[in-house]
Symmetry: C2
Subunit: 340 residues, 2 copies
DNA sequence: CGGGTGAATGTTACCGTCAACATGTTATCG
DNA sequence: CGATAACATGTTGACGGTAACATTCACCCG
């Protein structure tokens, strides 16, 4: 199962074309085209005849030909990270749904953030004449790799609002502060943080904001624990949480769940001994044990807004600056006031 | 943001074509084509010159034209359910990865299982001249809706091995029996089940097998609790679990997590008072509280095998019957021997 | 009642690529 | 040394649509 080059080509007889329909309806192929595209000035009776022919032949428009002639494909290219985490996946679904509403479909490809991988992804999508590009730019390098593209409108997503220019994102700084303010207001003063994958913009923003917050409040900087978004990593990091820490801010929910598991194994009770806040609000977090306090990110809104902007750009309207999407805090049982 | 018909067409100047490259390299466009497609019999020096021209112009093959000329698009159409659950999503990623290895990419669309929605999805994908179709057929009706398609190889996925014909699936009956045998061997005799979305093949198979199992062992049929795959539904169902039940088989992990939450709220301890088995083995299940015993489904294998079969079919090789993919049981802490 | 007008439809060229066939150019060999 | 492969490349015509322009016809009006 390796990539063959001159592929055997299992010639599958093509379906009927416009000409076939035209012949059957006794009109010219152009008239068929006009019916298909809802052009005015077709006699109802003619339209009827054409539509009948279409139905009878089971005709289906060839979008490759249409794309060739018009230069448009009604497809939006989407570049995703290679690992299917909750955020990208949710956003993808939202994009798919929103795109469908306006007659577009996504053409998906995955890429890591090195420029070679991105280059391949771009070649693939642009070669398909996608009408626009939505790039999940979780890593700063991605922006550079895509920068040269001018063939087509490009929109970045999941950039943590660090590149407001052409990007739709949940405000990571605001989300992080929501979590930390909550813990601080419960009286906690000894904080630790478990990060997401090093280098990813969102992980970096949460981490930087965490450290900023500590400094602002004159709190001690305990070691930051490195994670990779996975529950496994959260578990391992949870084993390393320092004695005396009462507030643990974890960069996403799965890691938080892993970490809580580790803490309990160590005999620490959440939230009695230590409060934990996650990030994302995955559906299971409400039923974790204890229910996980977390920052909700509205990925559906991200997808919707992304498509709406992309659609505007495709139609030549250049919209104004984009506001970040505001996250909100969901307080559950994994956080409690610090013990006296 | 509604679907406009005659769309304004933001004319974006097209990129260079083969002719431009040919002119620059001082050869004919056909020679360019040959270089691009790795045809033999090109003088190395000529090849060099063409490749230089390609690089200099930033030429990119127009796949719409290629698709039109060859009738192939190197794209696999994928029809997904509208709600992004773990199984379909994981499978999608696996398909994307496997497809990439053989030079294909997925074109995704979602559809519910009614024939109208499926019809639209099919029109869209076949209009794009996809080379093959992978349909996530979670509902029996889907099979009927897609049945008429002969233009292109079609493969079903996630059918729970109920339609072995043209389908790749994890064996649901086997998986269910793994879970139930485990519980039975621990001494449990009072079972209850929380189902997935009514009507979906996988949910149905798990449920039917559950009932069969009860009958085979002469166990009482307590009411089956209706769920919908969501942790929420699991929680609600968990509130309804009957007194005296010691073994709860839940149709997926998120619902199991929700159910456990409900049981603990009711003062029942898992696994002391009641053992719970889930299905799917989502990554967080290992760190649920208690660690969830569950049936692991290898979605990566499903995706891989699906692509491999589809690829074979595209190249005209009709492969033999497909073996189902075997799930396995992962025993963790949510199951224990029944108390004496 | 002839020309103008607009509605309905037809004709032709072109989008960028591949496939089939045609041509030109070297080596090869009797 | 001329016929003849074998190789390297060029030319032409699909593929199935869309767009621009051309045509036909009926009708209206001065």
């Amino acid at each position: 199962m390796r990539p063959e080059r001159p592929a055997p080509l299992a010639k599958q007889g093509r379906g009927p074309s416009m000409h076939d329909v035209a012949a059957r309806a006794g009109v010219s192929h152009q008239t068929v085209s006009r019916v298909l595209n809802d052009f005015p000035g077709i006699r109802p009776e003619t339209r009827e005849r054409v539509q009948a022919a279409i139905r009878e032949l089971g005709y289906r428009r060839n979008m490759a030909a249409r794309a060739l002639a018009t230069g448009r494909s009604e497809v939006i290219g989407v570049i995703m990270p290679e690992v299917p985490h909750f955020g990208p996946t949710s956003t993808l679904y939202a994009i798919e749904h929103a795109a469908k509403q306006v007659g577009f479909k996504p053409l998906i490809t995955t890429a890591s953030w090195d420029s070679e991988s991105m280059g391949e992804a771009l070649d693939f999508l642009l070669g398909r004449a996608v009408d626009a590009l939505v790039v999940m730019a979780q890593h700063p390098d991605v922006l550079a790799a895509v920068d040269a593209i001018t063939d087509v409108p490009v929109l970045f997503v999941l950039t943590g609002n660090s590149h407001a220019e052409r990007s739709v994102a949940v405000d990571q700084v605001a989300g992080t502060r929501l979590a930390l303010d909550h813990l601080y207001s419960l009286g906690h003063r000894r904080f630790q943080h478990i990060t997401g994958i090093a280098g990813l913009t969102e992980a970096q923003l949460r981490r930087d904001t965490f450290l900023e917050f500590l400094d602002e409040h004159g709190l001690e900087r305990l070691p930051v624990l490195e994670g990779d978004w996975s529950a496994d990593a959260g578990y391992r990091a949870g084993l390393e949480v320092e004695e005396g820490v009462t507030a643990l801010f974890v960069a996403n929910d799965p890691m938080a769940i892993g970490a809580i598991h580790a803490l309990e194994e160590r005999g620490l009770s959440v939230p009695r001994d230590i409060s934990v806040v996650g990030f994302d609000d995955v559906p299971e977090s409400a039923y974790a044990h204890p229910g996980l306090t977390t920052v909700h990110q509205d990925f559906a809104a991200v997808g919707l807004r992304a498509v709406s902007l992309v659609f505007a750009a495709i139609n030549g309207k250049e919209p104004g600056p984009v506001e970040p999407i505001e996250p909100w805090l969901v307080v559950r049982d994994s956080t409690a006031p610090v013990r006296a």
